[in-house]
């Protein structure tokens, strides 16, 4: 059984901070993200309303979780998906390994998923002969360097371009002294695309699992989740139970908070929400529309739910 890796947080932080130039680089980067986030927030007049709404939706959903999970299962099955339930990391990993083995799949590509990190799924599968390729740039960098992600949004934020050049040189034989981001991104693309093309299974996480429709919403800004979800014939989506949401219209308000809006992606069904998010974050008129739609949809469902909750059992 695979034991999840642990990190001695305080000691690791002390080690990181002792390298002053690195710490300053990181601090500058983090503050730039904070400023980018503030700038984005300032462009969306309903930002705080979105946040309150998101909290309310989340609280509501968590307090009716069992109902929404069952509704999601029924909806997803109607769409032709198979739904498996796992009660812990070990069972989750067993189920994934079993699905892969039943399909004879040996090459898995995956997009970033904190759930599979928590379950240490990659190591579990690799120990069983599956080649796992992370397709998120930061996650892939960490995989090549045999490190867990350092942050849930930016897995390799702690690495400088020079660090990444070293990691790629070791893994791909690229120029260790060329830390130009365009060059590095190109190296990654060349090596990862080949693995994506020969993959026989794809795995993604989920930002939302929509109970009403059985849809999975995955927010991506690199396009790698599109590839992981849509290129291989077999797709596995690993969803934490707390990712459930009542209705499609309630999801955009929860995905409106990103430090930088992603580029528009060619959309499949799972991406429609993410490009909606990009619009919401960019343009005030359409974000108002999104907010209005979310609010009204939420209100009607909220009234229904509170009414049914008030009825005696």
């Amino acid at each position: 059984m695979s034991v999840p890796r642990t990190v001695e947080q305080a000691a690791a932080a002390a080690h990181f901070i002792a390298d002053r130039p690195r710490e300053e680089f990181f601090d500058t980067l983090m503050w730039a993200l904070r400023e980018a986030r503030d700038h984005r927030a300032s462009e969306v007049p309903e930002w705080e309303q979105f946040r309150d709404l998101a909290s309310a939706i989340k609280e509501h959903t968590l307090s009716h979780l069992a109902d929404y999970l069952e509704q999601f299962e029924a909806s997803a099955k109607r769409n032709g998906a198979q739904v498996h339930w796992a009660h812990d990391a070990y069972e989750h990993n067993q189920i994934v390994a079993d699905i892969l083995s039943r399909h004879g799949a040996k090459n898995l590509i995956k997009s970033k998923s904190m759930l599979t990190e928590e379950c240490d799924t990659r190591r579990y599968l690799e120990n069983r002969g599956v080649t796992v390729t992370e397709t998120d740039l930061g996650e892939r960098i960490q995989q090549l360097d045999d490190e867990p992600p350092a942050h849930i949004v930016g897995p390799a934020w702690q690495k400088s371009p020079q660090d990444i050049a070293q990691v790629f040189a070791k893994a791909y034989g690229s120029d260790p002294n060329n830390s130009d981001p365009v060059y590095l991104a190109h190296e990654m693309r060349v090596h990862t695309r080949a693995l994506i093309e020969k993959s026989d299974a794809g795995m993604t996480g989920a930002n939302f699992a929509v109970a009403e429709t059985g849809a999975i919403v995955t927010v991506t800004n690199e396009g790698n989740a599109d590839l992981s979800g849509n290129v291989p014939k077999l797709r596995i989506c690993s969803v934490g139970s707390r990712r459930s949401f009542p209705q499609t219209a309630t999801s955009p308000s929860l995905s409106a908070f990103s430090p930088a809006a992603p580029p528009e992606c060619p959309s499949r069904s799972t991406l429609r929400i993410s490009s909606g998010r990009a619009r919401a974050a960019r343009c005030t008129s359409s974000s108002s529309t999104t907010a209005a739609r979310s609010v009204s949809a939420w209100r009607s469902s909220g009234i229904r739910s509170s009414a049914s909750a008030a009825e005696p059992a």
């Binding site: 305080a10 932080a13 901070i17 503050w31 904070r34 927030a41 007049p45 705080e48």
Partner: protein, 248 residues
């Protein structure tokens, strides 16, 4: 109006002059203040460390001592935040509700209850960097939060200090970021805590103030430790000391 005065443990032990300034200031403003001598810690360090049930006896003791007052005043944002918003180890009772609903940070009591505008006995012709603690800003809303970009800007500690003759404020970068203290965080995450303190001090000192002033002595204690290690000459004062008429 009967006011019960709470002096936080670390103020009692390390900065008694801040407790004295708070008491003198309230009495100067004609408030009838009582300081119950049996008081202890409010239980915040235990509750914040996940030992909620261990803070029950402390919270019950606090409620026994302070539920008879019209207002409970504490010169500390984090203790106020704890008593107001997280006082749940003691079982619910009308006394607990009363204490939680009538506890005030000193700033809130002066600004919102007494509505003091001027401190004519005060004079402080110095350049001051005002630091508001996270608990004061995000726990009990004594100042607007820079991350809530659409909210109106307000700053109650600053509004009070502006009632003192001669005081000048300096602006500094990342003005409402945490100083790194964070109570037990300073002990469990020493490296991060210290780095945050040095960063904060760096941003503040770049604006060349003579004093760093706060309504939370715990932040000042942390920053003072950082300043001492750097050999910095910068001086520290609690807001109550300036409002009470300390000259330097």
């Amino acid at each position: 109006m009967q006011v019960g005065l709470v002096i936080p443990c670390y103020v009692d032990v390390f900065y008694p002059e801040v407790g004295i300034a708070t008491l003198e200031l309230l009495e100067r403003l004609g408030v009838e203040v009582e300081y119950p001598f049996d008081q202890t810690c409010c239980g915040q360090p235990m509750a914040n460390s996940g030992c909620e049930s261990d803070s029950r006896a402390t919270e019950e003791h606090f409620i026994r001592l302070f539920s008879r007052f019209d207002y409970v005043v504490i010169p500390s944002g984090s203790c106020t935040h704890h008593v107001r918003n997280k006082f749940i180890a003691a079982p619910p009772s009308p006394e607990r509700e009363h204490v939680s609903q009538h506890v005030c940070d000193l700033v809130e009591f002066l600004h919102d209850v007494l509505k003091v505008k001027e401190f004519p006995w005060g004079e402080f012709p110095h350049k001051v960097a005002l630091h508001n603690s996270c608990s004061a800003i995000r726990g009990i809303y004594m100042a607007s939060m820079s991350e809530r970009v659409h909210d109106p800007v307000f700053n109650k500690p600053k509004a009070l200090l502006e009632g003192v003759k001669g005081i000048k404020f300096v602006d500094f970068a990342r003005h409402d970021e945490c100083c790194g203290f964070g109570g037990t965080f300073a002990a469990t995450e020493e490296a991060v805590s210290a780095r945050m303190g040095y960063d904060k001090l760096g941003f503040i000192q770049a604006s060349r103030p003579e004093y760093i002033v706060s309504s939370d002595m715990s932040c000042l204690m942390h920053l003072q430790g950082c300043a001492r290690r750097l050999g910095s000459e910068i001086k520290f004062l609690h807001l109550s000391q300036i409002l009470n008429g300390d000259r330097a």
